[in-house]
């Protein structure tokens, strides 16, 4: 089953997506990632103010089946965490690109976005992994 990979987002090989809003990067996990994990039941998210470098672990997503770390695709400061969904984590399964976003980061180096994958490139990564 093909997963939804919106064309207007950037992706990391580790299955995070980034939506750019000015100097803010909104970050979540891809539809492929949520589908592979299955029912998500726990989200560990950083507090606002935390400084992240590109590739840092910023939290973890736990499903009934498995635990997965989540990595920051960009460097910068966490300005907001979507802590409101920590008791209704199914929203990450249902709306991974909308209500299921995880953190917003004020980017310190927007040029890092150039190294991320396009939707087409990420589709190949997801396809190669299959299920």
């Amino acid at each position: 089953m093909a997963n939804n990979i919106p064309a207007n987002l950037k992706y990391a090989k580790t299955h995070e997506w980034v939506r750019v809003e000015g100097d803010i990067a909104v970050i979540g996990i891809s539809d492929h990632a949520q589908d592979s994990l299955g029912d998500i039941v726990y989200l560990d998210l950083p507090e606002a103010g935390r400084i992240l470098a590109h590739g840092d672990t910023f939290g973890e997503v736990e499903s009934v089946k498995a635990v997965s770390e989540i990595y920051s695709p960009v460097s910068g400061e966490v300005v907001e965490s979507n802590t409101g969904i920590q008791d209704s984590t199914e929203i990450v399964n249902e709306q991974p690109y909308l209500g299921g976003w995880l953190i917003k980061v004020r980017m310190s180096d927007a040029s890092e976005l150039d190294s991320l994958l396009s939707a087409e490139q990420y589709a190949e990564v997801a396809e190669a992994e299959g299920h």
Binding site: G38, D39, V41, Y42, E62, V64, K65, V67, Q86, H131
Partner: protein, 363 residues
């Protein structure tokens, strides 16, 4: 993805048609989920779910001495079984360890069906064969038949209606009936592994897919091994490799209710008697994590403050309670109901409370 080296049940094609996600379970290519573990588990509690459990072993034992054989190899009292009754029991080794947990069905005086775990099938068959007199014949019916669990409050009505046999609803728990389902010779047993009412049915392999599809059409929700595991943990049922193994006795496991120390001797009875007399150092308990969404998993350490008091054997995010629940072997001083403990989940300590295994669903 299907792996061609794995064993396939007679329902394998049906699982692929339903777009199940398949996993290797004890060498079998089995569905772990169809739509979602939580949704499937909740369907079993609310209506009726279907599980392919054909990977479990089904053996037929018949002949003079079959009763004595089972009496000597298993812990429960086979003489308590009337024809058309089944019992939960244990195969034990000379050290009192649990080789497997099994269900014995008595068909007639010296004729039995025994259902064994997939992961232990060859070990169990070898063990029984080693001890079997020449007058008893063991036949492995596993590949000739399929086994489907139909579980949930609507299960008896669905099965009885499909079998056009209203009297099936009158069967008591652990009674079984040999009858007809869509023209196929079927064993209907009022058993299950979910904590819900229902049946486990054994059908000919060639009829399995038609029967499965008819059960789906009748409202049965296909459920994978993920939901099965979640449901059995909520119900406080043990699983070989988690709560049960060859080095643990039924005393620690809280399974003395299926051990009859008054019957004629069985393998391992001296050791089990001794452990019972001394008292076990550890006990299998339920742990509830009422304010915790982290999932306690097998092997996680359990603490009382700085003292390591045991390890989790099984755990899950409870589909019904929406928080973590677990089973764990805990040092007996800390195993009293109501004791506050902490489970180490990666870098965190999650608060847990000891509860009876059977009340995890209410915890």
């Amino acid at each position: 993805m299907s792996d061609n080296n794995l064993l396939k049940t007679p329902l394998h094609a049906a699982h692929l048609a339903l777009k199940a996600r398949m996993v290797d379970f004890a060498g079998w290519d089995m569905p772990v989920l169809y739509t979602g573990i939580l949704e499937e588990a909740r369907a079993v509690r609310a209506t009726v779910g279907l599980f392919d459990i054909s990977h479990m072993g089904r053996i037929h034992l018949e002949g003079s001495g079959a009763t004595a054989l089972l009496q000597s190899l298993t812990t429960n009292n086979v003489e308590d079984l009337k024809p058309s009754e089944a019992q939960y029991s244990l195969l034990t080794n000379p050290d009192g360890g649990m080789i497997d947990d099994i269900i014995i069905y008595r068909a007639a005086g010296e004729e039995y069906w025994v259902v064994i775990n997939a992961s232990n099938a060859q070990k169990d068959i070898d063990w029984i064969t080693q001890h079997m007199p020449d007058s008893v014949v063991l036949e492995d019916w596993s590949s000739r038949t399929a086994m489907i669990a139909v579980q949930g409050p609507n299960a008896p009505a669905v099965v009885a209606e499909l079998a056009i046999s209203p009297s099936l609803k009158e069967l008591k728990r652990f009674q079984y009936h040999q009858g007809d389902l869509l023209g196929a010779s079927t064993i209907f047993c009022r058993t299950g592994y979910t904590g819900e009412d229902g049946f486990e049915i054994i059908v000919p392999a060639e009829s399995a897919e038609e029967i499965w599809n008819a059960l789906v059409a009748a409202g049965g929700v296909p459920c994978g091994l993920g939901a099965r595991d979640a449901l059995r943990i909520e119900a406080g049922y043990p699983l070989y490799g988690h709560e049960i193994d060859d080095t643990t006795t039924p005393v620690e496991a809280g399974l003395m209710w299926v051990v009859d120390l008054n019957k004629p001797v069985f393998t391992g009875h001296e050791r089990i008697r001794a452990v019972k007399t001394q008292g076990a150092a550890t006990r299998l308990v339920g742990l509830t994590l009422p304010s915790e969404r982290l999932v306690p998993r097998q092997g996680f350490a359990v603490y009382s403050g700085d003292t390591l008091v045991g390890h989790v054997t099984s755990g899950v995010f409870s589909p019904m309670r929406s928080h973590g629940v677990a089973m764990a072997y805990i040092a007996k001083e800390f195993a009293t109901t109501g004791t506050a403990l902490q489970i180490e989940i990666r870098s965190k300590r999650a608060n847990a409370v000891v509860v009876p295994k059977k009340s995890l669903l209410q915890s």
